[in-house]
Amino acid sequence: MLEVRNLSKSFGGLKAVSDASLDVPEGGIVGLLGPNGAGKTTCFTMIAGFTKPNEGTVRFMGQDITGLPPHRICAMGMIRTFQIVQPFAGLTVQENIAVGAYLHHHDRAEAMAVARQVGKRLGMGAMLDRPASSLTIAGRKRLELARALATGAKLLLLDEVMAGLIPSEVSEIVGIIRQIRDEGHTFLMIEHVMQAVMSLAETAYVLNHGKMIAHGTPRELVQDPGVVEAYLGHGAAARLQEGNHA
């Protein structure tokens, strides 16, 4: 569904992403992991059209979408959410979701009805009339997901929707995402919360210093020495090995 080939992006002298490739199959849940500053969000901004890559191509449903503006990409059925949640503060929760729904429902009553339906599905039924600014962080993350879903997008790029949530909230969101996937959506998700990645993603990619260093099932990845080193520092894998033998 999504094929990313050899994406690179530099900011000044800093190579934020270099030569990164990944594939997301239709109906899958794919993770994108990596330590802080690895270039994950930068990958998303390039895939979703917010910044142009220096090199590389992005293909979505067989079409080359490299360099297209975000609104065109969204209309084709791919949408990103933001790591730092971006609610429309002056609007109610339902109106926020409706902004997404307006993409394919031009009539207000219809868009609001879709918004209500999506909101309820994400367990936000009681908050629909509240101003978005009054939501807790968990509520805002959910709103971010609801708005994206309301556009009718088939592929959702989620940037750390579970960061900052308590474990019970995480397992709720995990359930919701699994349910949405079963209804025919595809996910590419950046996630730090290992519990979520392990239970949701079928495969995951690991990015470090802008480079893809590994790809596999979550279970394979946690045993990959390169991945362990990226997270825990140089020599960590060897030390862990020693620890296991002792």
Binding site: A48, F50, P69, P70, H71, C74, A75, I79, R80, T81, F82, Q86, P87, F88, A89, G90, L91, T92, Q94, E95, A98, V99, G100, Y102, L103, H106, D107, R108, A109, A111, M112, A113, R116, D129, R147, A148, T151
Partner: protein, 325 residues
């Protein structure tokens, strides 16, 4: 368009009572004064589209106002074209100028005070141009030939003028309300609240902003044409001067930017205040602007959502389910 609280209902009722009372007062002074205020209210409603809903505060709505007035005046005076056609042309010219300024400013990603400065610069350049070319009557301006009648859109009877203006203000407000609750309105508000999130949700933010400038320009052009038809004379200082731009933004800010009633209520309130001060202090020239500045500063400091926002907090009605609306 419906009030959301007791306070807002009272505010709206006060405005309506004042406007209706003019039919019984038979005071040419008050009538003339309110006719002026209604023309300003139309340009305030124009500013409200971009500045209120879209969060793009312009400091140069005179650019569109003057273009509307001049387009209509040039067609009538220089080419002898029918007033109705010139009227429509003025609105179209205002819209075109708005779209043009928007297209340029937003192409270069101008926001906030940069956008405000560019609009101001446009209005000033146009003012200088209008005072130097022959077709705009140069420094002496353009005067419509006095010829009252329906075909020339000139009316001797001030009550008729007043009624027409009331109808036009009501229409512009109805259009505003319709826009606010349309897809376009939701998109415009989304752009104001968070442009990145709006882009992610499939909104072509550049197009929405230019479209808003065109609609706002059409309203401002309409206001300019109304001024021309009421007073039959324009010159560059009157229609392209920064007084127009200031009055366009101050009414909505005082009354409540991004509301349907705010621009009218703010404009009426300010004009009444200015007029009152003038009488009390014996016509000190420029005094109304000093007063406006003080009121504006107070409003920005203490009333972030203007009078409508303040009134909105008094006696809130129960919110209805949006689905049934």
């Amino acid at each position: 368009m419906k009030p959301q609280s007791m306070g807002q209902a009272v505010l709206i009722a006060l405005a309506l009572i004042y406007l209706a009372s003019l039919y019984f007062m038979s005071s040419p002074v008050w009538m003339g004064f309110t006719i002026n205020a209604l023309i300003v209210a139309v340009v305030a409603l124009a500013w409200n589209i971009t500045g209120g809903f879209g969060g793009m505060a312009s400091f140069g709505h005179a650019a569109m106002y003057g273009t509307g007035a001049y387009a209509s005046a040039i067609l009538q005076v220089q080419y002898g074209i029918n007033a109705w056609i010139a009227f429509a042309a003025g609105i179209v010219a205002g819209a075109a100028m708005g779209a043009f300024i928007g297209a340029l400013a937003f192409r270069y990603g101008l926001k906030g005070s940069y956008f405000a400065l560019v609009t101001l610069a446009f209005a000033e350049v146009l003012r200088i141009c209008a005072s130097s070319f022959a077709i705009t009557g140069g420094g002496s301006g353009l005067q419509l030939r006095l010829d009252p009648g329906l075909s020339t859109l000139q009316f001797n009877d001030r009550t008729v003028v007043y009624t027409i203006l009331l109808v036009i203000v009501a229409l512009v407000m109805a259009l505003t309300a319709w826009l606010k609750y349309s897809r376009f309105g939701a998109y415009l508000i989304a752009v104001r609240e968070n442009e990145d999130a709006a882009r992610a949700l499939g909104i072509d933010t550049y197009r929405i902003k230019v479209k808003a400038m065109a609609i706002s320009g059409a309203f401002a052009g309409l206001a300019g044409v109304l001024y021309l038809q009421v007073w039959l004379f324009i010159d560059s200082a009157v229609v392209y001067g920064s007084a127009v731009s200031i009055e366009a933004l101050i009414g909505p800010i005082i009354g409540g930017a991004g509301t349907v009633w705010g621009p009218l209520i703010g404009t009426l309130g300010l004009h009444l205040l200015g007029e009152g001060a003038k009488h009390l202090l014996h016509n000190a020239p420029g005094l109304n602007f000093v007063l406006y500045a003080v009121v504006l500063i107070c409003a920005l400091r203490f009333l972030p959502q203007g009078l409508m926002g303040l009134a909105g907090r008094i006696g809130t009605f129960r919110k209805k389910e949006d689905d049934n609306a």
